[in-house]
């Protein structure tokens, strides 16, 4: 169920990769929050995640959940950004054997989910492995 208000509300983080940075301890969290989980401070500022990150771990999903079957099989990774923030993202447009822990990825804009033939489309970030 991809409720419209929720999709609309999440635009800053989905469209523009907005995150929160703690003014006290510098921790960066994605998605944005109200309280820093590291030091408890509520003094958070808005920042944007950088365009590139690194793969910490990944898997290839071969049995997809409802709504994602049309992409199956696909890779999902935990990406770490240079500022310390981490996010889970699909890895696209990359041969599976080219995906490795430690490789650099760049963020691209894709359809995250489509609600059937007549429903809404949710757009958001995915990652591509950067090959030199």
């Amino acid at each position: 169920m991809f409720t419209i208000p929720r999709i609309w509300r999440e635009k800053p983080q989905r469209y523009r990769l907005e995150a929160s940075k703690c003014s006290k301890c510098g921790y960066v969290m994605y998605p944005p929050r109200k309280v820093c989980p590291k030091c408890g401070s509520e003094e958070l500022t808005r920042v944007t995640l950088p365009e590139t990150g690194k793969i910490l771990t990944y898997t290839i999903i071969r049995t997809a959940p409802l709504g994602f079957m049309e992409l199956s099989p696909y890779a999902v990774a935990i990406v770490e950004f240079p500022n310390g923030a981490r996010a889970m993202m699909q890895i696209v447009d990359t041969d599976f054997d080219k995906i490795e822990i430690g490789k650099e990825v760049k963020i691209v804009f894709r359809k995250l989910f489509t609600e059937g033939e007549s429903g809404v489309i949710m757009y958001g970030p995915k990652a591509i492995v950067v090959e030199d």
Partner: protein
Amino acid sequence: MRDVAIVGIGVGKFGSLWEKSFRDLAVEASLDAIKDAGVDHIDSMYVGNFSAGTFIEQEHIAPLIADYLGYRLIPSTRVENACASGASAFRMGFIEVASGISDVVLVAGVEKMTDIKTPEAVYSLSLAADREYEGYQGITFPGLFALVAKRHMFEFGTTRKQLSAVAIKNHKNAYRNPKAQFHRLINEEDIENSPMIADPLRLYDCSPITDGAAAVVLMPLDEAKKLSNKRHPLVKVSGIGQANDTIALAQRDSLVGFAATTEAAKKAYKMSGKKIEDIDVAEVHDCFTIAEICAIEDLGFFPKGKGGEAVEAGLTEIGGKIPINPSGGLKGKGHPVGATGVAQIANIVEQLRGEAGENQVKNAKVGLAQNLGGSGATVVVTILEVV
């Protein structure tokens, strides 16, 4: 705070139980526990259940079960912490007895998962993850644990064979457990030929979708001693600890273990006064094979990174250094989500009473149960001992 004893247990058969309804499962296991306890009433009850709302379109299940058990006007509350619902409910029951608020508390765990189609069940299970930042990325539960497995293999060299060793052992144990879902021995070839679900986890690395229920009855130890039921030694709750962690896997400090397990264990050990070496037997949360390897590391039985080797070397077999999941674990027994935590505790009680049949660990005096929810966002560790 009073000492709390477990005076009655009831574990139902786990499996695809087409003829049993949600109410049937809960009532049967609860009646077994109440009869086993030999009590004539209960003061209060807790029910561990993950998602009756999505599986059978029923919320508010606590009064439903109390009602169908024949109890009106007693407090009944549902506790939900994903796959750790069962042990979380147990902890609430324990607190209610330990604090003196109630004298006889029933804790049941129940899940009816097979009325809906498998993809829908997989969807329901996925709700235990961070829906908006993990679910919408297309992750599944096998996927979450696959991410941990990949990193574990990367950092420690854990192998495919070592993951398989967990599944093989647990199937072997389940084979001898009449209540288990699976009575089938498997080997490495079976596992490595099974379909890949989320690299590197294959079908046989994953616990199944299961219907089932389990229940226990708690009483203050002093009252329990007065009960006429002297068939078996009395078992008391020696210590219990719960810890929660970030909902999303990406935000954890470690991607190769579960801090909540270690923290919950620390609290349980502190309350019980016991040490790791005192544990004779443990039931841990092997929702996926990698989860058992992480559990035995996070619980301190083996150093971080050495869990795979330990299983491969047979150290966690029933006759081994520290028997893990003699019941068959979630992999062999089945994993009716809300019931698992209660079933693990009931299985440890069986071990401590000497009633574990072919899977009996000799001279088990102190046992541990570890129940993990989601991708490690909730963990409850319970230590039980013979009085």
